[in-house]
Symmetry: C2
Subunit: 334 residues, 2 copies
């Protein structure tokens, strides 16, 4: 067995991606060089952000290349090691291709511990979304007991974890989301107050009512008018982890206009900090341990949907845009 399947980007989608965006190719299994390991793919993560990388525009991650293997979060097993950092049988998390086997430099991989949590969790609650929530909230937001934490995009993979961690830290937690179903879900997760920004007549007013003591931490997943409104309610020394700006993703820069933030920041000595989870990669282990512990203690609710079979990766990805998944969507490779 020296050959394997891989999935390439055949063309750049317009609007909703379709199956013909993907191309299955049979290629040689690569041979690890010095300092590298060979990894057998166990779980593949499919995520909405990958849609963005299919487009040919500049961001903090470069676009996928046409006719090359698509890359994303993967959990795999080391089957051959030419690095002292890993042994055969180790499990790793990496940013790897949609293929059955990958080689990678040892330093680009994170060893993961299957005794702490199921392997799949390292692509969800213990992986990118969980880690993003963890570091954005705790390293930047730093909520103290009794403070008010507002989260936009609160029902998303990141926002729902942010709110639960904020509750663990003793904060008054307010979630903003766009449907009553989502609001009900947030209530289930223990959010104190929820706001449906689509049906609220006066967002400013709704925030004021939900935050009688003002806003100490605003975890911003969306940008746009929702953030404009929250910025009117900042307390002194408020912290704003800026995680996403989904309201801006589909409009041009020249259309993304709103109230300037400078005077609001000066009046409150508030902090806004943009971040991506990769900034904290050296503290991955610390976060995984805390998150796993909270899951174990049922303080952190986590849902995942797992489809089996390499060939089903495209369907799993396309399903994201039809709302087919409950919680994190993964593909298990047999």
């Amino acid at each position: 067995m020296s050959q394997q399947k891989q999935i390439q980007l055949a063309k750049r989608p317009k609007g909703l991606p379709t199956k013909d965006v993907f191309h299955f190719e049979t290629v040689d299994i690569p041979v690890p060089q010095d300092g590298e390991v060979l990894i057998q793919t166990k779980y593949v993560s499919v995520d909405p952000y990958m849609r963005g990388r299919m487009q040919d525009t500049k961001s903090y991650t470069p676009p996928f290349k046409l006719n090359e293997v698509i890359q994303g979060g993967v959990v795999g097993e080391v089957v051959e090691s030419k690095s002292p950092q890993f042994e055969k049988g180790d499990f790793v998390l990496g940013f790897l291709g949609w293929q059955e086997y990958s080689t990678a430099k040892a330093e680009s991989l994170t060893k993961i511990d299957p005794s702490i949590a199921p392997l799949s969790y390292y692509l969800g609650i213990l992986g990118m979304p969980g880690q993003t929530a963890y570091f954005g909230l705790l390293a930047i937001g730093q909520p103290k007991e009794g403070e008010t934490v507002v989260i936009s995009g609160a029902a998303g993979a990141v926002g729902s974890v942010v709110g639960q961690i904020a509750k663990i830290k003793g904060a008054h937690v307010v979630g903003i989301a766009g449907s009553d179903d989502k609001l009900a879900y947030l209530k289930e997760l223990g959010f104190d107050e929820t706001i449906n920004y689509k049906t609220t007549n006066d967002l400013n007013d709704a925030i004021e009512k939900a935050c009688p003591n003002g806003v100490d931490v605003y975890f911003d997943n969306v940008g746009g008018e929702i953030s404009d409104a929250v910025m009117n309610h900042l307390n002194r020394f408020a912290r704003i982890p800026v995680c996403g700006a989904i309201s801006s993703y589909n409009i041009s820069t020249s259309e993304d206009i709103g109230p300037r933030v400078q005077t609001k920041l000066i009046k409150t000595s508030a902090l806004m900090q943009g971040f991506i989870v990769a900034n904290y990669s050296d503290r991955f282990g610390e976060a995984a341990k805390d998150l796993a512990q909270w899951v174990k203690e049922d303080k952190l609710t986590y849902k995942e949907t797992i489809i089996e079979g390499f060939d089903n990766i495209p369907d799993a990805f396309l399903g994201l845009f039809k709302g087919e998944n409950v919680g994190k969507q993964l593909v298990k490779i047999s």
Copy 2:
């Protein structure tokens, strides 16, 4: 001698303040209570920001009250102490009234050392403007050798010190100001590049040319379109101390509209931090020591204009708006 002169706010000015805004009153010299000291006024600071406090609008400092003594930065000598923290003959910096004598709680005063620098310096380069520059740049901006620091409002009392400290720290320093005279002054102070935002056709282009390696620190004194332009050139992990937004002071909130910053912060993992110098009051001594040392070593150029006589305080203040002062304007009380 049990009476003294004080200057009260007689009415709120419209447009440029005039002399009839002020009223001289003779009042009793106050008697210090337990924990207080009695201070003889030596130097009074007159500052443009005080114009704002003459208006009845909300900000981080409340407006001056009508028919009460006007307050500002004062250096004085302790003439009677009912606090173990101070002795007769100590010199102090405080936020005190425009009057010949004041009482104040010991904890609201900072002891100053006349052996480090002339007393008057504690109201300028070692005082509010110098301290604002020091903490905004060093505590928030944290410039590293070889990094690029851009300063708006660069020729002001704060901006001109920021640029000089940034040079001391080995940065490439770019100043933005509004006249060629100011640009010449910045060059004298050692700024590497200067931009006249009033005569530059394309501010974006000018910033790009002045900052071939991008912007690591943007010390923002002005907000508005100048800041909108600088925000397009941020490097990864850029830091933006937000010190002032003078472009917004004379317009309504609903007019202060511009490009949203969220996506720019996310793409660069940049930090914006609003602040006022009072946030760092417990580190005043540390800053005063460094600033005094740099002045002594001629690394920091500092200009002051001193008028003598209590009765001349209103004229000194009104002169600020006629551009009569070179550098920091003070009044020495005989």
